[in-house]
Structures are given as C-alpha cells and as structure tokens.
C-alpha cells in the first residue's frame, strides 16, 4: 500500500477525480480571481459529463487508429505486404501533415456537424506514430530469433504471435502512447464542430472572453493527459518486465 502511494499514478488519478466532481466547490475561488465575470463556473454540463464525452471521443478514435495502424504496420512487414510499405508510410505521413482543424473544416460541410468529423480527423492524425512504431518494433526483432523460430518449426502465425509481437510490443506501445496523448489534447477541438468534450468550456470561454472557463477545461485536459501518460508508462514497464530481471 505504501509502495502504491509512492507512485505518481494514484495521486494524479485522485487529482483528476477530485477536480472532475469537485470543480463546483472551486466556484468562489474563480469568482474571486475573475471578479469581472458574471458566471465564473461552466455549468452547461457537469464536468463529469464532459470528461466522459472526451474519453469516449479519444477512446473511439484511438481505438480505431490502433486497429488500423497496427494492422497496416503488420501487413507491410509480412512477405506479402512488403511492396505496400512505401505507399502506407506516405499515406500515413500525409494524414499527419493535415492539421486536424483543416480536416474538420473540410469534413464538417461534407458529413455534417457532430462527432463523426471529429472522429475522422483524430483517427487520421493519430495513425502515424502507431504505424511507424509497429514497423520499427517488428524490424527490431533480432534476426537470429526469427531464424530460430522458423527453423524450429513455428508457422508464420505462431512466429508473429509468440515471437514478433511480444518482442515488438514495447516499441509499439510507445507509439500508441504518443498517439493517445496527442489525441487527448487534440480532441478538445472536436467542440468546434459541435461535439461535446472538455474542449467545450475552452471554446465557449475563448469566444466569450471567459478565462475561467478556459482554465477549467484546460486543467482537466492536462490532468487527463498526465494520467494517461503515467498509465502507459506503467503498462510499458509491465510488458517488458523480462528485461528488468537482474543479470545472473
């Protein structure tokens, strides 16, 4: 228990939960800090609703990005998909050169307002680190491990599942981590096309000169990113725990 308390993750998580439900308690504080504002606390939705909506957008778009990115990365490192590698790499790099705001500007008139254009923009934007790290991770698997796996009689599926994926996982996870952290920050712009997220108080605050709203949204976005980052860091330690065992 004491060991758990020495980790930053439980503290960051506690701070996030406290702020999510405790924000109304800070109303006097914001009122004192911004005496010129009539409404110093964002009250159109509860912050719990906003955090939940934000998590849904991030979870869905990152989930799709992981699914697509890992599949594409694995496909182009197979014998059959080798030729498609330059094409995939170019497409994915292009996906990241388009700023999500630009994608939203193009997508919203085409498919309407709401969550759909936001999900498309965020998914495209998050693909690059995942694809790139999947390829790098698979390529870093030692050639001797490959040869031994094949020579000992593993099928290509068994080689992938038992040797390549576990050895590539730490690098792949680093890519997913980068993608998700960027996504948590970027998802705030989903509110510009009408999707509810932690970006809502920020956008409303910016357009209405309400600095308190902006701070309230930004604090939660920041804390969410920190919690996710610490969570991934713990997960990364766990998937490569075999590396940590001391030298005999």
């Amino acid at each position: 228990m004491v060991r758990l308390l020495r980790q930053p993750l439980p503290w960051a998580l506690a701070a996030l939960l406290a702020l999510t439900w405790g924000m109304p308690l800070l109303k006097p504080l914001f009122a004192a800090a911004f005496p010129a504002l009539d409404r110093p606390l964002y009250e159109q939705d509860t912050f719990a609703q906003l955090v939940w909506a934000h998590l849904q957008i991030v979870g869905l778009s990152s989930g799709i990005a992981v699914l697509l990115g890992v599949s594409a990365g694995l496909f182009v490192t197979r014998q059959a998909g080798r030729e498609f590698r330059p094409l995939v790499e170019t497409l994915v790099a292009m996906g990241q050169t388009f700023p999500p705001v630009a994608v939203l500007a193009v997508a919203a008139p085409l498919i309407g307002f709401g969550e759909a254009p936001a999900l498309i923009a965020l998914t495209l934007y998050g693909l690059l680190p995942i694809v790139r790290n999947t390829i790098a991770g698979i390529e870093a698997v030692p050639a001797s491990a490959h040869e031994a796996a094949e020579g000992l009689g593993m099928s290509s599926w068994q080689r992938l599942r038992q040797v390549e994926l576990p050895l590539a996982l730490p690098v792949m996870l680093a890519g997913i981590r980068t993608s998700v952290i960027i996504n948590i920050g970027t998802a705030a712009i989903a509110s510009t096309v009408g999707a509810k997220s932690l970006g809502s108080p920020i956008i409303v605050g910016l357009s209405g000169y309400n600095t308190a709203y902006v701070i309230q949204g930004a604090m939660l976005v920041g804390l969410l990113a920190i919690v996710a980052d610490l969570g991934f860091s713990a997960l990364a330690r766990w998937v490569s725990r075999w590396r940590m065992s001391e030298a005999g």
């Binding site: 030692p142 491990a145 796996a149 020579g151 000992l152 068994q158 050895l167 075999w242 065992s245 005999g248």
Partner: protein, 310 residues
C-alpha cells in the same frame, strides 16, 4: 537418412550449391566444412527447407522433403545456430520447451524433459530454468540453444556454426559435450563449421566444400592420410597434417601395459597431439600413463607415436 541427389541452388545469378550429391547415414556425425561462400550453410538449410533447392532431389528417410509440410519436417529435426537465437522474452525453460509446446506435449512431460536436458548440459535446473537469456553467459546460452534443439528428441540435429562465437575454452568444453551426446544418443548430426580442428574432433565424416561442390568427403583419418588435392591439403593446414593425425587418437591407444616410467603421469584420455607436446617440453622418451581414477596403466614411448595404428 538424408540424401542429396544432384542438388543445385542459386541466389540470383550466383550459384551457391552445384550438382551436389551426398548421402548422410543414420547415426553419423557429418561435418560440412569450407570457407565462406562454399555453400555449406546453404546445404544445411536445404535439409529443413529454410532454403528451397532449385534442382535435384533431397530425400529424408527415403521421401522427397517437399512431400512434408515445412513445419512438420523442422519439428522432427533439431536446429541450433551460432547466435543461439534464444527468445529473449522467454525463460530458459520456455525456450527449451519451444518444440514440445508446438507438438502439444502435456505440461508434466515438458517440465520433466526440460529438467532432464538442463541436467544433461550441466546447468542445474533449479538454478537456471527460471532465468532469461540475458542473464546467462555466452557458453550457457549456447548450451540452452543445444538443449532446445534436442528437446523433442529429434531424429536429426542440424547445427549451423553453433560454437563459432564462443571463446576457445568454452568452445572446447561444448565440443566435448556434443561428442558425448552423439556417442550416448546415436543421433544423426549435421554440423556446419569453418574450423578444421572442430571438424576433425567431432566428425565421423567430413564433407569439404568449395564453391558449392564437394571437394572431398571421408573420415577425418582418410582426409588427413589421403587428401584428394592441394586445396584439401591447404585447408587441413599443410605443415600440421602429422600433428592433426596425432590429435585424432588418445594415449590409451598406444600405451604399453605393465611398465611404468618415472615422472609426472599423463592421463590415458589425453590426445597423442598433447602427449607429443609433453614429450618435447620435458625432453623425455617415456611417459607414465594413468587412467581417470589415477591408477597406473603403463608407459607411452615416444617412438610409438610414429607407429601407424590406422
């Protein structure tokens, strides 16, 4: 057991193996030797279909190897390589269990086999089975690699320069263990090396390759006594052929019983090559010989080194 009939293989325009015919009998320890680019590794890898041959036929127990599924034939042949290829994320026990797992042995049988193999290769199971490869020395890793190749009791053991990356002392120890495992199990072993002393020490049959062709095949003694041409003589090391012949035999073969010379005794298991060195270093003509338990066996005469026993 394994038969090559007019087998050829090229990579692009470069021919790696040309019209190679070779028969490997059950229980033989065959060593494929040659310089780089001689086709020795390619020849080995064609046996378990890691490399597919272009022309000719390769038979395993009388059947064309293409009639087997590649995975099936590989699981019936142990495979060990120079850089060990141990899976870094698996413990020693999991690594050794690779092929038994693929063959879906029951867990209890696998655990028993792993312990047995670790014991056979001099790694106490309690101490080593839970370790990861990076926690082992190079020699220990290679022992685990050999144990993994032997795990499912394969009919054939294929080894691609297994001891190439080891220091001379560790290499010598592992070579002795391979010789012991071969004697004890009678397995058919095919080993690739570029080290002529390794070949002479381990092989029951040496196949010397150059540019994808067999230059000479025979027992170590045959190669040393009747090298086919200058290439073979050069490969064996021209000036050392006599010394290497002595290296093939032990003191026990030449000892005269019921006589005992003065001085520090030598072991009957010592090679005649090492005994020659002792003669010269001590400037004597007779050496007392003892067995492994230190009991006197007789005397080795310097002049007897010249007696041809083969």
């Amino acid at each position: 057991m394994i038969e090559f009939l007019g087998v050829s293989k090229s990579f692009g325009d470069a021919a790696a193996v040309r019209d190679l015919s070779l028969s490997i009998e059950r229980g033989e320890f065959t060593v494929l030797i040659g310089g780089s680019g001689s086709g020795k590794s390619t020849t080995l890898k064609m046996i378990n279909r890691l490399i597919e041959h272009d022309a000719g036929r390769i038979l395993f127990q009388g059947q064309e190897i293409r009639s087997f599924k590649p995975e099936d034939i590989r699981r019936r042949m142990g495979y060990a390589i120079q850089s060990t290829g141990l899976f870094p994320h698996w413990t020693v026990a999991q690594n050794i269990a690779t092929v038994p797992q693929l063959l879906k042995w029951p867990a209890a049988r696998i655990a028993q086999r792993v312990a047995e193999l670790l014991g056979l290769l001099g790694l106490p199971p309690d101490q080593y089975q839970g370790r990861y490869p990076h926690q082992l020395s190079g020699g220990q890793q290679q022992r685990v690699g050999v144990a993994r190749a032997l795990a499912a009791d394969p009919e054939v053991l294929l080894m691609d320069e297994p001891f190439g990356a080891l220091d001379p002392i560790t290499r010598g120890a592992l070579q002795q263990e391979m010789a012991r495992i071969h004697r004890a199990s009678g397995k058919t072993i095919v080993l690739v090396t570029h080290d002529i002393d390794e070949a002479l020490g381990l092989a029951t049959r040496i196949v010397l390759l150059d540019q994808g062709r067999i230059v000479q095949a025979g027992t170590p003694t045959e190669l040393l006594r009747r090298p086919a041409n200058d290439f073979v003589r050069d490969f064996l090391g021209r000036g050392e052929i006599g010394i290497k012949l002595l290296g093939l035999e032990t003191v026990a073969a030449r000892v005269r019983p019921n006589e005992l010379a003065e001085g520090e005794p030598i072991a009957a298991t010592m090679s005649l090559r090492d005994a020659l060195s002792v003669f010269v270093a001590r400037s004597v003509e007779r050496l007392p010989v003892v067995d492994a338990q230190g009991r006197p066996l007789g005397t080795l005469y310097f002049a007897d080194l010249l007696r041809s026993a083969v």
